[in-house]
Each structure stands twice: as structure tokens, then as C-alpha cells.
Symmetry: C2
Subunit: 198 residues, 2 copies
């Protein structure tokens, strides 16, 4: 609760059947539209796809971020949970960090416009930024600390900064053969390594 962090998605779980049904219908429609038109697709388009009015969409998801978060919540959760798992299973903390970054990058690049939205300063997207960071930063920090502890990387880098860096590297039009976020993220992680003494 460091930040006021308003935003509330649906006020509380409602009781009426139609409300629950519409909520799910909207999530499905949004997921479908996001794939084809990106996460900043017109709200109308999503409402139309779901066959509901615009009032309904705003009632369930007051801000765009609420909708996006609801759609991707499971995947973000999975990514968060993968952190400790990888730390336990990988050969080294740095290897775990690498694999985790891969997961995160995969997630971002397959979601049209999501990486953009994460850094966007347009209204309605700040909450998205917060959600991702609140959930994933601690995970990243744990991996980072473990790698420092193991002496694999040099100390001094903050998880927040690294996460944003990785996220930023994933921004861009898809299908540009000449730009592969993965390569750059790998470079970034290489840069983190403790300089091998001569």
C-alpha cells in the first residue's frame, strides 16, 4: 500500500447472474481483440465483439488497465511463480535469471502492444505499469540478489531498473526481422556479469 493505488476493476464480486456472465464474455472478447488489434484497441470494438453496450464494459472495468490486467492476470501470475521455481531448478542463479527473463520477454512480445502500454504515459495505463511492477519486481529482485550473492553478477543494479529495461527492449512493431528483443536482453544480462578478471 505504498502507493494510494486506486483502481478497482469491478467494485466487488456481484451477485447477479447476468453480471457474471457479461464479465466473462467481456474477458473473452477482449482477449480475442487484443490479439488482432493490440491492447489499445477501441473500447467500442471490444464491446461490439462481446455484444454488450459500452456502459457495461466501463462498469466492469473502469479503466483500460483494469481490463488488460484481468485478461493477463493468469500469465503474469505464472511468470511470478516461475521465479522461485527456476531458482531452485537452474544450474545457477544467473542461469535462473536468464531463463526467467526469457519467460518475461516471451510473454511481452506475444502480446501486441503490451510492452508499449507498460511504458505509455497515456491515461489509463499507469495502473498497468504498477500492477506488473508490484507483482514481478520482487521476483526479479530475488533472482538478482541470488546472482549477486553467488558472485555471478556485480551488485548495484536495482530490480526495478532491470525490469523496466527488459520491458523497454520488448517495445516495437512485431515482425521486424532485424530487431530481436531476446538478443538485446541477453546483452543486457551479459553486461551485468561480474567482469572476469584477466
Amino acid at each position: 500500500m505504498s502507493t494510494p493505488s486506486q483502481s478497482g476493476e469491478v467494485p466487488a464480486r456481484s451477485k447477479r447472474a447476468d453480471a457474471l456472465r457479461n464479465r466473462q464474455t467481456l474477458l473473452d472478447a477482449a482477449a480475442a481483440v487484443f490479439v488482432t488489434s493490440g491492447v489499445d484497441a477501441p473500447i467500442r470494438e471490444i464491446a461490439a465483439r462481446a455484444g454488450v453496450g459500452m456502459g457495461t464494459i466501463y462498469r466492469h472495468f473502469p479503466t483500460r488497465a483494469d481490463l488488460v490486467v484481468a485478461v493477463y492476470r493468469h500469465q503474469v501470475e505464472a511468470c511470478a511463480e516461475a521465479g522461485p521455481t527456476l531458482l531452485a531448478s537452474a544450474d545457477s542463479p544467473l542461469a535462473a535469471l536468464r531463463q526467467w527473463a526469457d519467460l518475461f520477454v516471451d510473454f511481452l512480445v506475444t502480446k501486441h502492444g503490451l510492452a508499449n502500454a507498460l511504458q505509455s504515459d497515456s491515461s489509463g495505463f499507469e495502473a498497468l505499469h504498477s500492477y506488473f511492477l508490484d507483482r514481478l519486481e520482487p521476483v526479479c529482485a530475488q533472482l538478482l540478489d541470488a546472482a549477486v550473492e553467488a558472485g555471478e553478477i556485480r551488485p548495484g543494479t536495482q530490480a526495478y531498473e532491470l525490469m523496466r529495461g527488459i520491458g523497454n527492449l520488448c517495445i516495437g512493431r512485431d515482425s521486424d526481422r532485424r530487431y530481436d528483443p531476446r538478443r538485446l536482453v541477453e546483452l543486457l544480462l551479459q553486461g551485468l556479469r561480474r567482469p572476469q578478471s584477466s
Copy 2:
């Protein structure tokens, strides 16, 4: 001419005095507005500030990119010319590359929203992406090649990718104390270095 690369800013230098005057007035107004409202400020705002109608702005600068390019052309040029200069004056090619990256980052972070626009897929900004890349990629490539040649960094990284990476790292709301593009760019360049053998 690999890409069709339409876009034409003003059709040609016009002869009429009022046209030239307005063109300059618009550039001044745009520069001022960009500082306060970012490069995606409403066109109307720029027109109002310049005291001209919207038709005028579109006649001189058909796309948003044309206007942005015109406003920043000198600085981009300076950045491009700094490449060879640094290569000649710096202690090593890698040092030159670092200093050049610093220049580029400084340029981007002081222009509200420019880094965003560079990667934006919204209409009217592709030309911006092209202009920056066409002008700066060769410069970056020269620095990169020199550093490879000198054995300071490992080969295999393309200038295009590096430039976009650096540009991407500069995206984000300003005034976030926890995120400093410079640190990450430095990390990226570190990652480029030829691994010191044990």
C-alpha cells in the same frame, strides 16, 4: 531508396514571403510546444501557438513526422557528425562508441516523448523512425565496426539493433528517479565487450 519512403515535408522551397515566414513561425511554435507537451501534442495547439490555421500546418508538414524531423534536424545532424569526430579523438573505438551513445541518449531523454514516438506504430510516426535510422545507423555502424576491429567488443551485433535498443531504453516517463536510461545503456555496452578470458 530501398524503401519507397514517401513523405515530403514542404513540396519544395516556396517563393512567397508569407509561406516562408509561416514555416519558420511554425517551427518555433512546434519546438516550444514539444518542450511542454511532448512531440505528440495536439496539432491544434501548435497551430494556435503559431497563430495560424490548421490548413497551414498540414500544408507545410503533411505528417507529424515531417514536423518533428524539421524541428530536430539540426540536432540529429550534430549527433551524426559527432560519430567520426569522437572516433578520432577518443582513447579507443569503444570509448568513442560510449561517448556517442551518451550523446544520443542525452538527445532523446531531453525530448519529451521522442523516444516513444520513434518506436510508436501509430500513424504518422514511421517516417520519424526511418529518418533517425537512415541518418544515424551508418554512424553507429562505423563506431561498432571500429570497436570490433580493435578487438574491444565481440562481432555479431548489428548497428540497427543496437540503435533501437538504445532508443528503447530511453522510453518512459521522465523524472523517475529509479530509472536511468544511461545506466542501462552502459550495461548494454558492457554486454557487448569481448569476454575477458579468465
